[in-house]
């Protein structure tokens, strides 16, 4: 490395760790960099991050990585065990390569997670900040509503909903999202209450800002870190619930390679061709574990008060 490169490297490092930021963007970068430094020291969180990144990459590049089509049946090669030539994870009862189906299943998992992770917290944020900011009757009504939804058994309600609306992955996502938002409302409300009486909020009120602007522009950003932590930790639960619905045949429908559904169809062959049910379960396990590890690590970094250490 030439001395010029070294200089440049030192320059960017210095910029990222400076304690006198020159702009808001700079300050945000510094914060992010410091948080990243702390997070990267936690090797378990790094493992989690690696898993999540792998999931995303697998989902995006599935068509490139997959040696076969996930739907094409091939009855001569059915129920091949793992490490068979050409099928390192084996095949299912229709001769479909399991590795391919896992790859494409990653897309489904990612889609479910992404959709729920965007809709549920958003909805919860809106309700929570409104309740926290306006207080009084609005607060009571909204919180009662939240409590009611919070006390419901998530899986059972999702079940009943899907039963009514009909099985299908869109309905499963809707059902999960409808039962996933309450914790975010609670978190958002707690943060809002902490923040709403601060001086800077009073300052913008004096400047004539109306409630929507105050909430959207100033209060919601404060809730973001709590919400992000919650979302990451929740992802595992969402994946497991979606897999559960798939297992019961209420989520994705065959021949979609949804992991829960794959376990269900592998059940018939559990004792002799154990891999058909085991492999998708391992995938679910590893991905959930990844999100949990990452979420734990993020919480230790972003919210040390409730850190587990």
């Amino acid at each position: 490395m030439t001395s010029q490169d070294q200089q440049a490297a030192v320059g960017s490092r210095a910029w990222l760790t400076s304690d006198q930021p020159v702009s808001r963007f700079h300050a945000r970068c510094v914060q992010a960099y410091l948080a990243w430094r702390r997070l990267s020291q936690n090797w378990l969180a790094m493992v989690g991050l690696g898993i999540v990144l792998a999931l995303i990459l697998m989902a995006i590049f599935a068509p490139l990585l997959a040696p076969y089509s996930p739907f094409e049946q091939s009855l001569e090669t059915r129920l091949l065990p793992p490490f068979s030539p050409g099928h390192w994870l084996g095949t299912d009862e229709f001769g479909r390569d399991l590795w391919t189906r896992i790859l494409y299943g990653a897309r489904i998992t990612l889609m479910i997670v992404a959709l729920v992770a965007v809709t549920a917290p958003l909805f919860g944020l809106i309700i929570g900040t409104a309740a926290g900011y306006f207080g009084g009757a609005v607060d009571v009504v909204l919180m009662r509503l939240t409590d009611i939804f919070l006390a419901f058994p998530r899986l059972i309600l999702a079940l009943a909903l899907v039963a009514a609306l009909g099985p299908g992955i869109e309905n499963a996502i809707l059902a999960i999202a409808l039962t996933a938002w309450p914790p975010y409302a609670r978190v958002a409300r707690a943060e809002t209450i902490t923040v709403r009486n601060s001086d800077y909020i009073s300052a913008i009120k004096l400047q004539g800002a109306r409630p929507p602007r105050i909430i959207l522009g100033h209060i919601m950003p404060m809730c973001m870190s709590s919400v992000i932590i919650r979302v990451t930790l929740d992802m595992a639960g969402i994946i497991l619930t979606a897999a559960g619905l798939g297992f019961l045949g209420l989520g994705a429908q065959p021949p979609m390679p949804e992991w829960g559904l794959m376990i269900s169809s592998g059940r018939k062959f559990l004792f002799d061709q154990w891999w058909v049910a085991t492999v998708p379960g391992l995938a679910i396990f590893i991905v959930s574990l990844g999100f949990n590890l990452l979420g734990d690590g993020l919480r230790d970094v972003l919210d040390p008060r409730s850190a587990s250490k």
Binding site: I148, P153, L155, A163, G244, G281, K309
Partner: protein, 363 residues
């Protein structure tokens, strides 16, 4: 009356006044919780009612069939009260539910409430055993993790618990069946009893609680008991693992909080042995919030029963609901949902109350 006696009288009078105030506070807390319970239950009923009405299958057609005449359809509509305004229908629905009338099941042709009474004990049996496993292993695990915070026992216990948060319960159940039943033959397979014992159980063992273990033990039918034990042990351990994961994590967290309190130092200053400091002093304070955790864990086990019972063919409410789903038996689905929902809600809300009852500071 001497000064001291007078003082003592005033103190005890104040004491009883204080006790009265405390009792009133407790009463307030109880009634507030019950009102919450009622409102939440109403909300649940509203949702199940809406789901019931949103179902694409016209309830009338499912009764009279597709070739009924218009007159017949109208008559049945009248009977089912479907011509009334929605609010009135909801009112009828609430009335029915409060009387335990969930309609008749399509699958069993029995009143849904009877089916529920028949199947619920099995679910409770499993949930109870799993919770016992969870507490028995989870609490000491959490304590040990807290005491050795940062060192390898802590990491190991935490990772072990973390696995429990990441595994699909139905998958672990399948793996358990594969290994311990299929390969090793150490435990009984799906179902509560072997087929042969099933018949004996039907005829020879009177139903007291509905739980096979208890009833067969009460009847002295030890061969049935042993067989039931071999069947229940795997699902209990599998479910227990999930209970354990949650309980140990919370125990650890509570324990860490308590170990940094001053009274722990006091106990050490007194010269108490370390085991006493941890297991009597600190744990004594941990048990109070832990009750809430245990209640919540029980509730989530009930919820997860739909999945576990499918895997183990366990004849409980979860299996009933899933089967009802596939038979499009909405009465059974909704009835089961309401019952499980009610127990779930109750456990959630009452666990809060339980805390206040057990904590001497709140009494």
């Amino acid at each position: 009356m001497s000064d001291a006696q007078g003082a003592r009288r005033r103190i005890s009078a104040a004491g009883s006044g204080l006790r009265q105030a405390r009792a009133t506070r407790l009463l307030f807390g109880v009634s507030r919780t019950l009102i919450s319970l009622a409102i939440t239950f109403l909300g649940l009923l509203l949702i199940t009612f809406i789901i019931g009405r949103v179902v694409p299958i016209d309830p009338v057609l499912s009764i009279v069939g597709e070739r009924a005449s218009q007159a017949q359809i109208d008559q049945v509509r009248e009977q089912l009260g479907l011509n009334e305004p929605l609010m009135t229908q909801f009112g009828y629905y609430i009335w029915d539910v409060l009387h335990g009338d969930f309609g008749r099941s399509l699958m069993t042709s029995q009143p849904v409430i009877d089916d529920i009474a028949r199947f619920f004990p099995a679910t409770l049996e499993l949930a109870t055993l799993a919770t016992i496993v969870g507490v028995l292993f989870g609490v000491p695990g959490g304590v040990l993790a807290a005491v050795h915070q940062g060192r390898w026992p802590d990491q190991a216990i935490r990772v072990f618990g973390l696995f429990g948060y990441s595994m699909p319960v139905f998958w672990l159940g399948l793996m358990g069946l594969l290994i311990f039943y299929g390969e090793l033959g150490w435990v009984g397979g799906p179902g509560r009893l072997d087929a042969t014992y099933e018949l004996m159980y039907e005829y020879d063992v009177p139903t007291v609680t509905g739980a096979v273990l208890i009833d067969s033990a009460l009847a002295g039918a030890w061969d049935i008991f042993r067989n039931a034990l071999s069947h229940v042990i795997l699902p209990s351990l599998v479910l227990g693992y999930f209970s354990l994961a949650y309980i140990s994590r919370m125990t650890r967290s509570f324990m860490l909080e308590q170990l940094s309190q001053e009274y722990v130092t006091t106990a050490r200053v007194k010269g108490a042995p370390e085991w006493r400091v941890i297991w009597v002093h600190a744990l004594g304070n941990v048990l109070i919030p832990l009750i809430t955790v245990i209640a919540l864990s029980y509730a989530s086990l009930l919820e997860g029963s739909v999945l576990t019972e499918t895997v183990f063919a366990w004849p409980g409410l979860g299996l009933y609901i899933t089967n009802a789903l596939f038979s499009a038996d909405m009465n059974a689905v909704l009835g089961g949902t309401v019952v499980v929902g009610l127990v779930f809600i109750s456990l959630n809300l009452l666990s809060d109350l339980l805390y206040r009852v057990v904590d001497p500071r709140a009494r």
